[in-house]
C-alpha cells in the first residue's frame, strides 16, 4: 500500500484551509502566511550535510515534532513529481524543496494543513502557518506558540547578537517571513500597480508572484512580504507588512471604484467579467493559466455584484475551489488519464463548468 500517494490524493480532494473568500476585503486578500526559519543547534546547515546525515536529521526532527504537534509526516523524497506538484499548488512546500533529491519531509498539522513544517529545506525547519484573509498578527502568535513547543524538543541555533541563525543571511535574525497574497486586477489594468510595487520595495518589502520566489505573477495575484528579518522584532515586521497590505487593498478598492465611475473603464471591466463567464461556461478546453485569469475576473464581478452576478448563486466557495483544484497537479492526481496536456485541458474545462455551474446556479444569460 502506497500510503504517501493516498495521503496526497486525499489532500488534493479537500479544500485548502486558508481560502475563504471574500472575507473582509471584497476578495482582494486571499490569504496570510507566517513562516519561521529555524535550524537545530549542533547540526550543520542542510547543504553541508551528507545524504545519510540529512536522512538522520529529517528522522530526528520529525520524531521531535511528532512529540509536540499532532499531525503526520510526508516524506517528500518518496513522492512522485505529480504529488510534489500538488503540495506546491497548495503552497505547502517550496519549489526548491519539490526539486530536491535528498531526504526531506513535510509535517502536516492535524489542523487540516493550516500548520505545515518543511523539514530539510535550505533551513532544517521551515514552519508555516496559514489563514484566510489578513491575519498576520494572529498567525504570528500561533507560529510563536508552535515554535516554543518545538524549541522544547529541538534547541535552535541561536546567537545572542544576531538572533536565529539561518542558511541564508536574508533570514538571519527573526527567521520570519510574513506574507499576504493579494488579488490586484484593477490596479494592474489601470497601470497603477508598478509605482505601488516600487513603493513597497522602498519599504524593504518584497513583491512576488503567487508561488513566491522565482514564480511569475499570474492572474494578477501578488504576494507581499518583508525582506528584512534582522534588527526588527517580529511584531514590527508583521505590523509593517499588514499596514502596507492595507494600503494596497485600499488602492485596489479605489481602482475598482474608479473603473466603475468611468464609462469607458466600466465597459472594459464589465466586458472582462462577462467574457470570463462566457468563456468559462462554454470552453471545451481550458489551460491552467487561462483558468486563473478568468477566475480572477469572476472574483471581481462577484465582489462588485456586476451583472450577470448581481443575483446569481455563483459562490465564492466554488471560485476558491476552482482556483486550487483546477491546477495541473490537482487534476492529474484526482482524475485518470490527465497526464497529457490536451486531455487535461479538456478535463479542466468540463470540471470547472461542473464546479461553477453544477446544479444550476442561476447565472442568467443576460441579454
Amino acid at each position: 500500500m502506497n500510503r504517501p500517494k493516498d495521503e496526497v490524493a486525499a489532500l488534493a480532494s479537500t479544500p485548502v484551509p486558508w481560502l475563504a473568500s471574500p472575507g473582509e476585503h471584497d476578495g482582494i486578500v486571499l490569504a496570510s502566511r507566517i513562516r519561521l526559519a529555524r535550524n537545530a543547534a549542533g547540526w550543520r546547515f542542510a547543504r553541508r550535510l551528507s545524504s545519510a546525515q540529512t536522512r538522520d536529521l529529517v528522522e530526528q526532527l520529525a520524531g521531535a515534532i511528532d512529540s509536540v504537534l499532532p499531525g503526520r509526516l510526508l516524506r517528500i523524497d518518496k513522492l512522485s513529481p505529480v504529488q510534489r506538484r500538488v503540495l506546491i499548488e497548495r503552497h505547502l512546500i517550496s519549489l526548491d524543496l519539490a526539486g530536491s533529491e535528498r531526504a526531506s519531509g513535510l509535517w502536516l498539522g492535524s489542523d487540516g494543513g493550516r500548520t505545515a513544517i518543511m523539514i530539510g529545506e535550505e533551513d532544517h525547519i521551515r514552519l508555516q502557518v496559514f489563514a484566510p484573509g489578513l491575519a498576520l498578527e494572529r498567525l504570528l502568535r500561533e507560529a510563536i506558540a508552535i515554535d516554543r513547543r518545538l524549541e522544547s524538543r529541538i534547541p535552535w541555533a541561536f546567537d545572542e547578537r544576531f538572533g536565529y541563525l539561518t542558511a541564508c543571511h536574508s533570514n538571519v535574525g527573526t527567521g520570519l517571513r510574513a506574507s499576504v497574497m493579494l488579488h490586484l486586477p484593477a490596479l494592474a489594468t489601470l497601470g497603477e500597480l508598478k509605482p505601488i510595487l516600487r513603493g513597497l520595495e522602498q519599504l524593504h518589502l518584497a513583491v512576488r508572484g503567487r508561488f513566491g520566489e522565482g514564480s511569475e505573477p499570474q492572474g494578477h495575484y501578488y504576494q507581499i512580504s518583508n525582506r528584512r528579518t534582522l534588527g526588527l522584532d517580529e511584531a514590527t515586521i508583521v505590523a509593517t507588512v499588514t499596514e502596507a497590505a492595507q494600503r494596497v487593498i485600499e488602492g485596489e478598492r479605489l481602482a475598482r471604484q474608479a473603473m466603475l465611475d468611468d464609462e469607458q473603464r466600466r465597459t472594459q471591466l464589465e466586458d472582462r467579467v462577462h467574457r470570463a463567464w462566457g468563456i468559462i461556461s462554454h470552453a471545451r478546453t481550458l489551460s491552467g493559466e487561462e483558468l486563473t485569469e478568468h477566475l480572477g475576473w469572476l472574483r471581481v464581478g462577484l465582489s462588485l455584484r456586476l451583472p450577470p452576478f448581481a443575483d446569481s448563486r455563483l459562490s465564492w466557495t466554488a471560485l476558491d475551489h476552482a482556483l486550487i483544484a483546477g491546477q495541473p497537479g490537482h487534476i492529474m492526481l484526482t482524475q485518470s488519464h490527465a497526464e497529457d496536456t490536451v486531455r487535461r485541458d479538456r478535463l479542466r474545462a468540463d470540471l470547472v463548468r461542473s464546479w461553477l455551474m453544477g446544479g444550476n446556479n442561476d447565472v442568467r444569460q443576460v441579454h
Copy 2:
C-alpha cells in the same frame, strides 16, 4: 434634404441580396460575383480625363444606363466617408473608387443591389452582378444580357484582336472577373490552406481577402477569381473558377470531417464554436474583426450541428445579417453616437447580442 445620405442609410438597414446561407454547400460558399469592365468608345480612359470631362462622362453614362436599366444613381463623390464605407462593406464599390475625389457614380439596379454599376472607376464602367451561393454561370448570362442592353446605348471600346479594351492590361479581352467568396476555417486550422491556394495560383486563379485586391483575409473568408481575361472565352473562365471553387469546397468539407473524426481536433473545433458563442453572447465590447472571426465559427457550428446548436433556433439569417450589419460603416450609419471606436465596439456587442439572441433563440447553456 440630403437624398444620398437617406439612400445609403436605407441601404444599410436592409439585408444584402447576395447572402442566403447556408445554401447548397453547408455555408462554405457565401456568394458569387461576375464583374465586366467596359470603356465607352470615343472617350479616353478615366485616368486621362480632366475633372470636367470625368463629370461629363459620368453624367452621360448614367443617362444611358438609366434608359435601359431600371435603378438609381448614387454620386459617390457626394457621399461622406462613412457612406462610402457602407458601400464597400456591401461590396458595391471598390476601395479605389471609395478613395477617389473625382466625379464617380454607382448605379444601383432596382433588383435591390444584385446589379450594381460603378461609373468612373479605373474603367468607365464596372458592371457587377451578385448572387448567393455558387452561381457564376447564371450570373454570367445575366451580366451579358445587361451588357448587351448597355451596348445598345454605349458603344464599347473594342478591338477585333484583343477584345474589350480596359485601362489595365490585366482586364483586356473579356473584361471579366468571376469571383466566389468562400469560408474556409477548417482548411486554415489544419494548415492545408496554403498548398491549396498555391495550386489555385498555378491555375491562374487569384486568391484574395474578403474585400478583394489589397484586403487582408479576415475570419477565414477568401475570394477566388480568375486572373486571365484574354485568350479565353467567358464560359471557359467561369467554368474554371467554378470547378476550382468546387474542389476547394470539397476540401473544406473533408477538412471539417477530418476535424470531427480526430478526438483532439474535434475538441479544438467544439471549443472554438462554444467559445465563439460564449463570447458573442457575453461580450460587452466587440471589435469588427473579432465579430467576423466568431461569426465564422458559429457558421461552422451551425452547419455541423455541433452543440450548442444541435437544436437551436440560431438562424443563418441572423448570422448573415450580423456579418454585414456589424461592420463599422453600417453601425456608424444606422446608430447614433457610433463615431468613436469605443462606443461603436460597445454598441456592436449589444446589437449582435440582440440580433443573435433576440426574442430567445433557445441556444441552450450546455453543461
